[in-house]
Structure formats: C-alpha cells, structure tokens
C-alpha cells in the first residue's frame, strides 16, 4: 500500500502523534495464538444445546406439531414451540418505529421459507438435540410459493407475508422509495442516445470465520448473561427485551470480540430463543449455527435487480438517469426496507446528472430472508451503475475513464436527493488510477479538481 500525500496536501495537516502511525494491533497476538476469548469459549457445567427443527417447505400451513417422540429421546430436557415465546411476532426495526412486526421467532401456523425455525429442542448434548429434532413430527399442507420478484409483484401471486398484505414493503411514499430531481422525461427527449439495461445479482453469504451464536448463563437472580457475537449489543438486547417481554435490566450482554461480521450478525435471531430456553430450564444454553445454517439459514445479501435507463449526449454528458431497483427481501423484512431505501439515496452514483428518477422496491418472496451485508443497498447498485457507465462510453465512442471525468460530481454540485456534494474526491482517485494503471487521459482531465473549479 502507498499513501499518496501529494493529493489534498493543501487541505490536510499532518501534525499528529498517534494518528497516522502504523502501530501494531494490541489484539493481534491474542488472535494469532488462539488466546483471544470469543463467545464460544464460555462453557458452563450443565450447559444445554439448542437445535432447531426447520421447515422443509418454501411455503406451507402447519396443521399440527407432535413432539411426543422427541421428548422421550434420551438427553432431551425441553422442547419449545411458538406458544412458549411471549412476543412471538416481531421485527427488529420496530426499535426505531419501522414496522409492521412480520416475523415469528418460532413458526406459528405457517412457514414462509425453507429453513424457517419451527420447534426448538434442548438437550444435554448437541447430538441428542439433533437426533431429537429429527423425531419432531410436523404435518404441513404445502402452499404455492413464489421465488421470482417480478412474479411476486404480479396480481394474483401467492401472498408471502400476511403481515404486509402485499408482496412489497409499503413505504410512506407508497410501493417504493422515490427520488425525483429535475425532469427525467425532458432529459431523455433532449438526449442523443438512450440506453436501458437490466442487471441482476444472486444472494451471497457473509462467510464469517465464526458462525452466528451465543451462550447464555442464568446469573441466579432472574438475570441472564448472554455471551454473543452480535454486531450490535444494545440493538440485540433491546429487541430481546421486547420479544421476551422482559425488562432490559434483566439482560446482560457480553461480546464485542467477533470472528467476522460483514453484516451477518445484526438480525437478532439466536439470542432471544436461547435466553428464553435458559429462563425456562434454569440451565445455561448454547445455540450456535452450523456452517450449513450460516450459509442457507442466516440472512444472505439480497439478490437485486436494477434497471437503468440513461439519456446521454454525444459530448459525454449524461442528461437523464432513471433507476428502478428491486431488493429481494425473502419472506421477512429484517433490515431490507432500509437497504432498498439506502439504494434510493445512493443512485445515480457519484455523478452530477440534472434529471433523475429513482424507484426502489423491497419485495417479498418465499426464500431465506435477506438482510444487511457489507455494502448494504449500494454494492449491487454500483455494479449496475459502473457497467452501465462502461456501456454508455462505448456507445458514444468515448474512453470509459474520460467519460467518468466529464460526469464526476464535485464540491457544491446538488445530488438527486438534494444534498450538496461535500468532500468529493472521485476525480483525484481517477487521476491516480490513470497514472497507476498507465491508462492515459487528456490533460484537461488531469488538471481537474474536486474542489477548485478551473477558470
């Protein structure tokens, strides 16, 4: 890595003692010698292991649940179903008044994705819990499922989630989050070329080294200590408090040292049910995802579809950009309504375009609920935008890097969501890329600045 101090030297003071120094990390020796304590290093006598009975169907009604055989399995201590959970229907963003509550801790009457938690089994060993889980009999009536976002949005599609009533999240702005800036149709009318293209991604996994999990120990005084690898301590504590209808003062979360997150550990899934299990049994409880659960049960990054329509001038200016984004939330909201909204605030990318129209939809389908991941609401949008930029440049016969200089945002430029640009540095990044990659551009672009307008 190289620090190129020549850029922005006039707006930066390099007079600090500790900041800017490549100090060795104080926690590294512990990490690389296996001494650092993670949540799973907490082990208690008499600790129970929790395993989930999960739906084998993408969408089904639950006719009945029979746990009698499982209860007789050696080592089984307790079996939990929906009626054991005090506030079973929840949604995590309710903490900041983003509803409706649309998800169950344990399925109640219905499952909406393959892998959904139905019954929790607690046993003396992981093996006993796993074996007993296989003996729980759930009678399902399979329902039609929908996996494709376009299909889900059509009239008459199977309804994924009754708490929403339709297969998209209803914002205060309607069926999508909207950004309107300038007059996009007038922009298209004056453009020399129009290019409309569609981009698609598939869900991906966070793949942390340490899978999601927690260990809960009763403190002996109606308080419970939860050793957890959540990425958000109080967010998880406060949601647990709601789900268990338990004062926050009874909950003690210990964590803060996590083996990789990437957004995969902000969904509040393992802690509430493990604490409930510890409360109902009076025993310590461990609930740790297997790698298979981490990959197929834990929220992935949403699949997204992005449709971009651009009007571009022969001289390289983008006159108008219309973006329609679809985020596949899976069966439940989790953080997805926010991810789709974040996309609306991110388009049309780091370019100054006078006419912009953005609609972003959060769509429900019968798949593993997606949620936050590194680059939430932005990564797939950037893929679509920057491939589109390449296509536009080639369409008008311009160098792709020079084309970006022409449209790059600079300090003071108004963005589509009506915030003035501050602290821009796109131009300088591209100038350095031109040098480092030996990708020459015209001298006028090398003379540009993000904060000083040339005469």
């Amino acid at each position: 890595m190289e620090l190129r101090k020549s850029y922005f030297a006039d707006v930066r003071k390099d007079d600090l003692h500790e900041i800017g120094q490549p100090r060795p990390r104080l926690d590294s020796p512990g990490h690389v010698t296996g001494k650092t304590a993670f949540f799973a290093d907490h082990n208690f006598p008499g600790m129970l292991h929790l395993k989930m009975v999960r739906s084998p169907h993408h969408h089904a009604r639950i006719r009945s649940i029979d746990t009698s055989e499982a209860e007789k399995h050696p080592g089984v201590v307790r079996i939990l179903t929906a009626r054991d959970v005090p506030h079973n229907v929840y949604t995590i963003l309710i903490l900041i008044q983003i509803g409706p509550e649309d998800e169950t801790v344990l399925a109640d009457g219905k499952v909406r994705w393959r892998g959904e938690a139905v019954v929790a089994v607690l046993a003396e060993t992981e093996r006993a819990a796993q074996e007993a889980a296989a003996k729980v009999k759930v009678d399902y009536e399979v329902l039609p499922a929908v996996f494709d976002m376009e299909e889900a949005l059509k009239p008459g599609a199977p309804l994924v989630n009754e708490y929403h009533g339709q297969n998209y999240y209803l914002y205060d702005s309607g069926e999508c989050r909207k950004v309107r800036f300038g007059d996009v149709e007038a922009g298209f009318a004056q453009a020399d070329h129009i290019l409309e293209q569609s981009y698609q991604s598939s869900p991906i996994e966070h793949a942390p080294t340490e899978t999601t999990g927690c260990v809960v120990a009763p403190e002996g005084n109606d308080r419970f200590t939860c050793y957890t690898n959540t990425q958000a301590m109080f967010f998880t504590l406060d949601n647990t408090s709601i789900i268990l209808q338990m004062p926050g003062s009874k909950l003690h979360f210990v964590g803060g040292t996590v083996g990789g997150g990437f957004g995969g550990k902000v969904d509040v899934i393992v802690e509430p049910i493990a604490i409930l299990a510890a409360k109902l049994t009076g025993r310590p409880v461990s609930f740790v995802y297997s790698r298979e659960e981490e990959m197929q049960i834990s929220s992935p990054r949403a699949a997204e579809k992005v449709v971009i329509k651009d009007g571009v001038m022969k001289d390289g200016r983008i006159a108008a950009r219309k973006v329609t984004g679809y985020t596949d939330a899976g069966a439940y909201s989790r953080h997805s309504p926010y991810g789709a909204q974040k996309g609306a605030g991110h388009y049309p990318g780091p370019y100054t375009i006078p006419n912009v129209w953005i609609d972003t939809y959060c769509v429900y389908t019968n798949r593993t609920p997606s949620s936050a991941m590194r680059g939430f609401g932005v990564t797939i949008g950037d893929f679509a935008l920057e491939v589109q930029m390449d296509k536009l440049a080639r369409l008008i016969g311009m160098d792709p890097l020079e084309f970006r200089f022409i449209n790059a945002y600079r300090d003071g430029d108004m963005k589509a969501h009506r915030q003035p640009t501050e602290g821009a540095a796109l131009i300088e990044c591209m100038q350095e890329a031109s040098r480092a990659a030996n990708w020459p551009v015209a001298e006028k672009y090398m003379a540009m600045s993000s904060y000083e307008k040339e005469a």
Binding site: E2, L3, K5, F8, E18, I19, G20, Q21, R23, I96, Q97, I98, D172, R177, K178, R180, Q197, Q200, S202, P203, A207, T209, Q231, A232, M233, F234, H252, V254, G256, T257, G260, G261, G263, R291, E292, M295, Q296, A303, Q341, H346, G349, P350, G375, T379, I380, D382, F383, E386, V387, R404, Y409, H417, G423, A424, L426, C429, M430, E432, A433, A436
Partner: protein, 334 residues
C-alpha cells in the same frame, strides 16, 4: 479458442453511516490511578481492529502514547450505548464519541496538573510521551503518572469524560426523496486486468489497482489489511460467490466451503492499493468509513474487463464460466 486479455475500470463513492433511526454512539473515558486510560464502549470489534483505532484516537486526543490506553468493548452492564458496528460507521461514530470523551478527561487532567504546577491550565500542553509541560517553559513539567496519582489521592478529581456522537434521523421526503442518508463519502477507482479463456469461460484476474480516498488513514497498516481484504472480497463477489447459483431457483445452494466457492491463495490477483486522504469535515481526525466501500469497485471493474477481453456482457452476478460461455454462444462467437 484463445486466452483473451482485457481491462476495465470502475469509480464509486460510499456513504459513511446510516440515518434511518438516528445514528448515535457513546463513549466513556477514565484514567486509572497511575495515568493509564480506559475507553469504555459497546461498539463491537469484528476483527477489523476497532479497539486499536479507538486506542489511537483516545491517545492522540489526551496526549499519551497509544500503549497507555485500554479499550473495553461490549459489556452492556458497564458500557454506554452504541448503535452497532455496521454501515461503515464504527471508526467515524465511535471515534467522534471517543474524541469528545477524551477531551473532557484531558481538560480535568490539565486542571489537576495546573494545580500541581501552580500555573493556568490554558498554559499547559502535552508532549505525547506522557508528560504535561508549560508552554514555552518545558523545563516546568509533570508526568501524567503523577497527575493521575494526585487526582486520585490528593485532589479528589475524577479524570474522566463522556462522549456522545449523534447524527439525527432524516426522514425522506415522500414525493421528492429529499433526505440526508449519511455523512461523509469515501471514494474509489479500480482498474482490473483479466484473462478469459473463451473455451472454458474461466477468468483469471491478473492485476487489480485500487485507488481509495478514505479521509485519513488513522493507522496505515490496518487500512491496508482492510483494503486488501475488501479487494479480494470484491473479486470473489464478481466471479465466485452465491448461495443460490440458479437464482431465483432455490436449488443447488452451497452448504460448506467445498460447495460455496471463493478464490483461494492461488487465485489471488496482483493487488495494488494506493490511498489518498482528503480529511472529512466531521470525521475523527478527518477519517471516513472505508470498510464497506473497498469491496465494491472491483465487481464492475472485473465485469468491464471481461467485456473488453471477449466482447460479451454478463450482467448477472456472479460472472461464472457457465454464464460467460452461454453469452459467447449466444453471440455466435464460439
């Protein structure tokens, strides 16, 4: 049939933090009896080095070496609220809270030192080595060790501080979408060079040159580890990863690392990282949040390089050999 070479570019920006429900983080700082400093947070270190960075920020602000600061993350019985570690917010939000807390603690520390030295606190400065000096008369000084002892056992002062950083909630305007979705923006430009085997559809990323503008590299070595890791993740996202290879079909999802593919050591591109620093107006010592941004520009850069190599577009991620071959076949190229 040939190995074809191509080059692609992408340029992006990335927002720091989130605004959905307000974006707060708090920090507490206090001195021990011998002048070490404890930072108490409920922010989470995911392995990226949050604790180290908060220690350096606290040390810089108080005026002591970093090894005199201990950071305790995440015990809800003792630590104040943090929204969490996500949205590239950790360094920016918690860092600002630590600066505020450390400034308050520093002020008490200087007041105690002023009493001991019988001078005005405004005339004191720290040397960054653990001492407090009278400006212009550095021979008149006291160690922070002695100041802390005095505060604890003689003066009855708590050298401590509270820090709070809040970005208030922004409600998007319904019709226009006017909103303030985040604070400062980091930037990047990536140039990727690839080879594509038009017989097998396999892509080899030869080189990836990443230019990142991140406000301030608070610890350049840690910046490097995060940016190199992010660059790898971006390439992996572009070419390898998915839990649903035939999305929207739910079939054939990987359940372990034998089935869920990622590039291994032999697949690593020659990776170059260049960092620019335009300090942000509201960041801790000018820092922005580069944690998420650094994994984004490689994806379109690689996609554009593949087109440059073989002349077909694959607009669906991941860009697998199967998709490349199907696109070549559709074009009639093979």
């Amino acid at each position: 049939m040939a190995i074809r070479r191509g080059r692609g570019v992408a340029a992006i920006n990335y927002p720091t933090g989130m605004n959905l429900g307000g974006d707060p983080t708090q920090a507490l700082v206090h001195s021990t009896p011998t002048g070490n400093f404890m930072v108490t947070l409920s922010s989470v270190d995911l392995g990226q080095g949050m604790k180290q960075i908060m220690a350096q920020i606290c040390a810089e602000t108080i005026g002591v070496p970093t090894d005199r600061v201990v950071v305790d993350t995440a015990d809800t019985d003792t630590s104040p609220h943090c929204m969490g570690t996500f949205a590239s917010r950790g360094t920016h939000r918690a860092g600002n809270a630590v600066i505020q807390a450390a400034r308050e603690a520093r002020q008490v520390m200087l007041e105690v030192a002023a009493e001991e030295l019988e001078v005005d606190a405004r005339d004191l400065e720290t040397d960054g080595q653990g001492n407090i000096l009278v400006k212009g008369a550095p021979q008149k000084s006291i160690s922070i060790f002695d100041v802390a002892l005095s505060a604890h056992f003689k003066r009855g002062r708590s050298i401590s501080g509270r820090g709070m950083f809040l970005i208030p909630r922004s409600y998007p305007e319904k019709e226009t979408g006017a909103m303030k979705p985040s604070t400062c923006y980091a930037h990047a430009c990536t140039v990727a060079e690839v080879e594509v085997d038009d017989e097998t559809g396999e892509v080899t990323v030869l080189t990836v040159k990443n230019i990142f503008e991140i406000g301030r590299a608070l610890n350049p070595k840690m910046v490097e580890q995060q940016l190199v890791g992010g660059s790898w993740m971006g390439i992996s996202h572009a070419l390898y990863e998915t839990t649903e290879p035939y999305y929207p079909s739910r079939d054939h999802g990987g359940t372990d690392f034998n089935q869920y593919l990622m590039p291994g050591p032999g697949d690593l591109a020659d990776t170059e990282i260049i960092v620019l620093e335009r300090p942000s107006a509201d960041g801790p010592y000018g820092a922005k949040g580069p944690g998420e941004m650094c994994a984004n520009p490689q994806i379109p850069a690689v996609a554009n390089a593949i087109f440059d190599a073989v002349g077909v577009r694959v607009d669906t991620l991941p860009i697998t050999p199967e998709r490349i071959l199907r696109a070549l076949k559709a074009e009639g190229t093979v």
